[in-house]
């Protein structure tokens, strides 16, 4: 299957590994990935920060760049949720593409580590990903999946919330990091690098806490 990749602005600039892993994984499964160069940002950040005009422009740009694609994959739950709500694009979060469209849960990965998973809010409540990412992770050879206490609680990122209400965001982050540390996992995986940048930034200040990782990187290993 020919699959278009929407990398997202954040992954492009800061976390290319999630995109590289997505490409590596899909190619390994025998699919052809293409990357439309005109893409930049879906508009979510502007929309949720209150900038409707800029958001509409970026949504339209993304719509025209990906117009005609049969399937678009993106390693970001919140960007997929935004595009699904505001465009007609056939866009899938990675676990949706793998499990629902391609019908795969066993992706041939090996990752011999103790891992816990944080289901990000937009993946959980907007996309209703359910246990799709967990089914993929459980099928990874050598991986020990441990449950994250209060997993469904928001990590406190919330885009500009992390800056505008920095203290409340920090209090929520403290609880998330404490729960993650309690699992004894080596890695905390998630399907969204925006939340992971925030959680990872908190975990970096706790010696011995799990390291943040995008779950695509585990599936591609």
């Amino acid at each position: 299957m020919r699959i278009a990749l929407f990398i997202t602005c954040l992954n492009d600039a800061m976390f290319p590994k999630a995109g590289i892993a997505t490409v590596t994984l899909l190619e390994r499964l025998g699919h052809q990935v293409h990357f439309p160069q005109e893409q930049t940002c879906c508009g979510q950040m502007h929309a949720n920060s209150g900038y409707a005009v800029a958001a509409r422009q970026l949504e339209q740009l993304t719509s025209s760049v990906f117009g005609g694609a049969d399937a678009i994959v993106s390693p970001s739950g919140s960007c997929v949720a935004h595009l699904r709500a505001h465009t007609a694009l056939p866009v899938y979060e990675l676990s949706e593409l793998l499990v629902d469209v391609l019908g795969v849960t066993e992706v041939g990965a090996r990752f011999a580590h103790r891992v816990t998973y944080h289901p990000t809010c937009h993946g959980l409540r907007l996309l209703r990903l359910g246990d799709k990412p967990l089914r993929l992770l459980r099928a990874v050879e050598g991986l020990e999946l441990v449950e994250l206490p209060d997993a469904d609680q928001c990590c406190g990122f919330g885009g500009t919330f992390a800056l505008k209400n920095s203290g409340v965001s920090g209090a929520m982050l403290d609880d998330k990091c404490a729960n993650a540390a309690e699992t004894g996992a080596e890695y905390l995986a998630a399907a969204d690098n925006s939340c992971l940048a925030h959680i990872g930034g908190g975990l970096a200040r706790r010696p011995g806490a799990p390291k943040p990782i995008h779950y695509a990187e585990i599936l591609a290993s």
């Binding site: 990398i7 492009d12 800061m14 976390f15 900038y51 209400n165």
Partner: protein, 495 residues
């Protein structure tokens, strides 16, 4: 003032008409949410009380909602009934007023808080009463009725236990359903010992505390001439009011005084008595986590020789008409004040209700307060930002108010700081063209190269950054731009 619907003054969203005067205070934040929240975060006792209480109610709610097979269908039906009401407000108000009048009630229309307070004060003064007993009512909190009555020398006695606690403490409610959620029982015992006449209890055992309050309140019920209540529902076809409460204090106030005054928001209407069934299933499970509500009072007009012989119903707009005219925001008027959204909100759980600066706190308050007052009032414009948009509130709302959608809508229509507007505009200009985007990626990479070197041993995360990014690094390390962007990797490997 009886019978036919009078023209309601409409308060346009964004109009600062509620911005001034003491009457605006109950639903107008006096300071930015972030400032109030930062102060509340330091109160570790508050956080412990709230964390314990919200988790308990949250778990209780989840358990009893899971028992109902047709919960989603119930939510859909209730939302549809309320949407119909919002679309036909003038018609249903007129129907309610004529049915209630025919049953012996006197119906008043109040465009705003001041009109409502004037009406109620006039009625109480006409009775020559020096005090009123009150059923717990968010609407009278919204208009600041107690303060108005007290300024006129009339004691307004709250008879709901938690409201009484808040009143004795000269405090403000911090939760819609559990207004004293920020107190624990030893704090309550100390308060009762200090302020409750005739208080005698030797421990902070909840039964003893409740017993003391019961003895105190009984005297009030038996001697008050005027009762004041709100309403959970107002049935248009019959002119009936419905009050849902847990302690029986409401029934005392509704039956013992000679005169009863109900202050009712116009969105409380339901068209038919039969509509109540769904709401009375949704409300207790969502609010207290109970399967059924203990005391549900439905009363219509006046019955000679039985109960109050005068019933006054004050139908309050106070910004609701304007909210009903907002295509995105009008769904907020479906709210039945259950407070399920407060109990699941991670922001509310950490800062409590007072941080919202309004009697409507939590997710519903973050939309409703600025919607009712307009965003120019006080610091209500900061409230739509008091959320991560995590969506937990929308999931539990029994009438399916899409609170995150309204939060975003208010952000998009509200005022924003100039520097932020300029930054966001520059960013969108860069992002609208891939060459500009590529150039920006290159510049960010080059600019951060020395930092990458410095933070090598920490895995390339920055511990301290200058303002405004210091707001980020105050609580977490900041990531640095990647050494090679994704698109550069793609070009290197795939083209």
């Amino acid at each position: 003032m009886t019978g036919s619907a009078q023209p309601r003054r409409v308060v346009a969203l964004g109009m600062p008409r509620h911005a001034t005067g003491p009457l605006a205070a109950p639903i107008t934040a006096p300071e930015p949410f972030a400032d109030a929240a930062a102060r509340k975060l330091k109160d570790t006792q508050l956080r412990a009380n709230l964390g314990h209480a919200t988790r308990t109610i949250r778990d209780k709610r989840a358990a009893v909602v899971a028992e109902v097979d047709d919960w989603e269908a119930l939510r859909d039906r209730a939302a549809a009934v309320k949407d119909d009401v919002i679309a036909r407000l003038p018609e249903l108000l007129a129907r309610f007023a004529s049915a209630a009048t025919a049953a012996g009630a006197t119906v008043h229309h109040a465009a705003d808080a001041q009109q409502a307070n004037d009406i109620v004060l006039g009625l109480v003064q006409a009775e020559q009463a020096d005090r009123v007993v009150k059923v717990k009512s968010m609407t009278t909190q919204e208009i600041g009725l107690n303060e108005v009555l007290e300024a006129a020398g009339i004691a307004a006695i709250e008879t709901d236990l938690a409201e009484l606690i808040v009143q004795l403490a000269h405090d403000k409610p911090s939760h819609i359903l559990v207004p004293a959620i920020h107190y624990n029982r030893s704090q309550i015992r100390d308060l009762f010992a200090l302020r409750m006449p005739g208080f005698a209890a030797d421990s902070d055992d909840p039964a003893q505390l409740a017993g003391a309050a019961r003895r105190y309140l009984r005297e009030q019920f038996l001697s008050a001439q005027v009762g004041v209540c709100g309403a959970n529902f107002a049935v248009a076809e019959t002119g009936s009011l419905v009050i849902v409460e847990s302690e029986g204090n409401g029934r005392m106030c509704l039956t013992l005084p000679r005169t009863l005054i109900a202050v009712v928001g116009i969105e409380k209407l339901v068209p038919h008595m039969a509509d109540l069934g769904d709401f009375l299933r949704l409300l207790p499970r969502s609010s207290t986590g109970e399967r059924m509500n203990p005391y549900t009072s439905i009363f219509t007009g006046v019955t000679p020789g039985d109960g109050p012989q005068q019933l006054h119903i004050v139908l309050l707009d106070n910004g609701r008409g304007a909210v009903a005219a907002d295509p995105v925001g009008k769904q907020a008027l479906r709210c039945i004040r259950c407070s399920a959204c407060l109990n699941v909100c991670p922001v509310y759980e950490r800062v409590g209700g007072h941080a919202y600066g309004s009697v409507y706190p939590g997710p519903i308050g973050a939309i409703l307060s600025p919607q009712l007052t307009g965003q120019q009032a006080g610091h209500n414009r900061s409230l739509p930002y008091a959320s991560t948009l995590c969506g937990a509130c929308y999931d539990v709302c029994p009438v399916k108010i899409n609170i995150p959608e309204i939060l975003v809508h208010l952000r998009q229509t509200g005022p924003k700081p100039l520097a932020e507007r300029q930054l966001m505009s520059a960013l969108s200009w860069v992002m609208r063209d891939r060459r500009r985007w590529k150039a920006a990626l290159r510049a960010a990479r080059a600019g951060s190269a020395p930092l990458r070197l410095m933070t090598r041993r920490r895995g390339h995360t920055l511990r301290r950054a200058p303002w405004p990014l210091s707001a980020w690094t105050a609580h977490r390390d900041a990531p640095l731009p990647a050494q090679e962007s994704f698109r550069d990797w793609w070009r290197r490997t795939h083209e």
